[in-house]
């Protein structure tokens, strides 16, 4: 006769899951604090160069005082031949890029103006206060960057930023 009688008739009690939402909320808050929202996914792929002693763009992103543009090879391989040197320009938040004009440096001017107008008046800081951040592939030709600079100079958006990968601060 054993003292510990096995009681097979009784099922294992259910695990209490009432604190599961708390755990998930904690995770949620962590991600909300530690990440920043993505701009639109670019249709060009690029491999960013490395650099040190850079400036963090996060504060400008939070105040939406920064516009991103990308120079890389088109993800749609069939399109590569359409662009000189195989590099295309992608403008952030342009929903339907028309390859004829939008992948051209001259489109930058219209894009900047549109983005500026789209902002509510109370949040505007003046077009000269909005940084234009260029994210380009390591091998992208610098000539495109200078074409963009010229367009920006014409509309007096005089702040430009060259994006790089900086792993020294982490």
């Amino acid at each position: 006769m054993s003292k510990f009688k096995k009681d097979n008739s009784k099922e294992a009690p259910a695990v209490n899951t009432s604190s599961l939402p708390d755990i998930v909320f904690m995770l949620l808050f962590f991600f909300m604090v530690a990440t920043t929202s993505k701009e639109s996914d670019p249709t060009v792929s690029l491999n960013q160069p490395d650099g040190v002693k850079t400036q963090d763009m996060t504060p400008f992103k939070q105040r939406s005082e920064i516009d991103f543009l990308y120079i890389g090879t088109p993800r749609n391989k069939a399109r590569i031949d359409q662009f000189a040197g195989g590099y295309a320009l992608f403008l952030d938040n342009v929903a339907q890029p028309n390859p004829g004009e939008l992948y051209n440096a001259t489109a930058v001017r219209q894009w900047k103006m549109d983005k500026f107008e789209a902002k509510p008046k109370s949040l505007r800081v003046g077009i000269e206060g909005v940084i234009t951040c260029v994210k380009a592939d390591v091998n992208a030709p610098v000539g495109v960057v200078f074409d963009i600079r010229k367009e920006l100079q014409d509309i007096e958006a005089l702040k430009i930023a060259y994006a790089v990968q900086d792993n020294s601060g982490i």
Binding site: V24, G51, A136, G143, K159, A161, Y162
Partner: protein, 254 residues
Amino acid sequence: MAKRDIPEINAGSMADIAFLLLIFFLVTTTMDRDKAYIKSIPKKIDVPISEPVVVEERDILAIRTNAQNQLMVRGELIGNPDDISDKIIEFYTYNEKANDVTSNFPLYSRVDKATIKEQLRAVEEEYDDVDANGSGPIQEEMLEFINSKIKEWKRKEKAIGMLGTNALSEISSQAHIRVETQKLTGYGLFTKIHSEIEEAVFKLRDDAALRLFNEGYGSIRSKIDNDPDDLVYKDMGSLLDILYPKRVIEVTPK
């Protein structure tokens, strides 16, 4: 009336809701921060410049690259782009202690307290003169120009006060770094040059900051960013700015 128990709300699906939110945030956000070098583009001027300003060769540090991504610093071919920062540091420090007129590096000028006071008084008098001579668009532009000069001298006055020495040695006001690229130069090399410039200037300022204030330049910078109203750190930053100014010209390729 009899008291009724309020039925308990079933919270079993709360976790599902939280998961849904969590997944939404996971998808729409990124962990990596955007890092970049902010540069300002010079303002467009409509008036054609009849005579180009002559800059002494010693005041120019030209970094040239071509379409084959070859590098040249001050006329010398460089194989490893990591060496650019050493060249920049040499450019800044060669004449820092004592001027060597025979060298091909920018000269330093030394201004003492009395000169700064005198200059400050002179520009302030100039300001009053122009101000008294009526108003108009030209006068306003003049006033703005003189105002910037006054600010400059006031900054120097403050800087010399912080240094605690009698004279402030300054690199030639025309000394600058010139980045010359060609249209087909790779973006990677272009940003590498900027990276090297930032690294060199940071190192120079960091050394000076450690010597003068016993604090690294990085920590001074972050304190200025965190609290722009903190005058002590702002003055430190402005002094280091005067000692090692970052003047970079990017030449548009033809």
